[in-house]
Amino acid sequence: MDSVLKAVATLGGLGLGFGLILAFASKVFHVEIDPKIIDVRNALPGANCGACGFPGCDALAKAIVNGEAAISACPVGGESTVVEISKIMGIEGHAGPKRVARVLCKGNYERTNKKYEYHGIMDCKASVMIQGGDKACPFGCLGNGSCVAICPFDAIHVVNGLAIVDEEKCTACEKCIKECPKGIIQLVPYQANVVVDCSNHLFGKEVKKDCKVGCIGCKICEKACAFDAVHVVDSLARIDYEKCTNCMVCAEKCPTKSITAMIEDRKKAYIISEKCIGCTICAQNCPVDCIAGEKEKVHVVDDRKCIGCSVCYEKCPVDAIEMR
């Protein structure tokens, strides 16, 4: 009994002693830090994902307050975070258009052939070592979920052998982009309704024998685009999102349907007759000649021909055109 008491008393005493010393030290050695750092830290998402290039949100908060990082340096927080930080720092700033990660492949198990049955561990970096993975297409998503495992925001899921990003949850932290051994995940604008969901650089027959939805490099989209926004480079179409107007003509024309577009959500131009002054600017600029009407009379849009590119909407000097 005596030894137990002694042990408890000694350790308790030591613990108490150190506790008191530390409590005392925290008062004596208290250092004031810039309250702005704490405020900025609280405004950041706190995921400590490192996408900004700093080791965690604390380091970024410090860099922002010291002026070493832009207030829009956090790619995860988006516009709302930037607004909050700009209030604390008193600087104006914009986050830029929101972007999300996208797996540029549509080849699930039905659409793309398999070379063999893979029974190894569910990790793309492991399966890619065996002849580049089980998918016959050398640029295809392996669907073993390395991106799912690394995503800190639960924004990627594998459905039928194909990884799909949840645009609402994705924060564009780029972790999956670095993880994917095939390098087929890219950031695309959240607003982009037309995306070439293929990464295959092979041509024609080579693509078709392995995959039903691969880009064959036929350049039909390039010719169909009225805005010079699609270009086929190395047998693979890519959309310039700066120029793209989401008119979806390329997606309609694509013979393999490797360009994804929500055609049912396509908007049409409507002319508000009370406002139209008949200046013909819209008709002159329409890439598909779907606007008719004489000078100084109300114009009409042929909605069977309209592709919803919103060029007329932007050109109209009196805001007489609506997209709906």
Binding site: S3, K6, A7, T10, L11, L14, G15, F18, G19, I21, L22, A25, S26, V28, F29, H30, V31
Partner: protein
């Protein structure tokens, strides 16, 4: 045994990382760049020396006094954890530049088993206070030598043509093993 041979023995012959295999975690974790590993080494030197002095005093004044040496491990862990906290606060106030330089390595040392191992070895060897200080300095400098050399090799490995499956940690572990074998050569020193 003279003080000099205690020092060389702790730094080279019985190197804490490469011969006794203590403190492997920071040795592998913080050795990707020479600059950061040097920071870690300095922080460890600082804490090891202070910790061994205080543990020695507690050992003599408290544990042996009350005849409860069996509580050594738990008491020493308590001391090291509290000491690291205290040193961190002290540095933050008195020397912000040193605090910045040591950065995240200081709190990391709390979990460095080389510090605890050193404190216990000092006791089992029956060292007095002077020998304890010399032994701790030697051990800490040995740790610094090992981690800085290792970091230098790893910096070069970054650009070396390493076979794909061995890239990263596998080659680092092989390197550590080879360094350990190399340090075995010091066992031949006549002290």
């Amino acid at each position: 045994m003279g003080l000099f041979s205690i020092f060389i023995g702790a730094a080279l012959v019985n190197n804490y990382v490469l011969s006794r295999f203590l403190g492997i975690c920071p040795f592998l974790g913080v050795s990707t760049k020479v600059a950061t590993s040097l920071g870690m080494g300095i922080a460890v030197t600082f804490v090891m020396t202070l910790a061994s002095i205080i543990t020695h005093l507690v050992q003599v004044a408290v544990l042996e006094n009350f005849g409860i040496e069996y509580l050594q491990t738990i008491a020493f862990i308590l001391i090291i954890a509290a000491l690291v906290q205290f040193v961190e606060m002290f540095l933050k106030k008195s020397s912000p530049s040193l605090y910045e330089a040591l950065g995240v390595y200081l709190p990391l040392i709390t979990t460095n088993c080389a510090v605890l191992g050193l404190a216990i070895i000092n006791v089992t060897e029956g060292f007095g206070i002077i020998e304890t200080i010399v032994n701790s300095l030697g051990a800490a400098i040995g740790f610094t030598i090992a981690i800085v050399l290792f970091a230098g090799i790893r910096e070069r490995l970054e650009t070396a043509d390493v076979p794909e499956p061995l890239k990263g940690f596998p080659i680092a572990l092989i390197t550590a093993g080879l360094m350990s074998i190399a340090f075995l050569g010091f066992a031949g020193l006549a002290l």
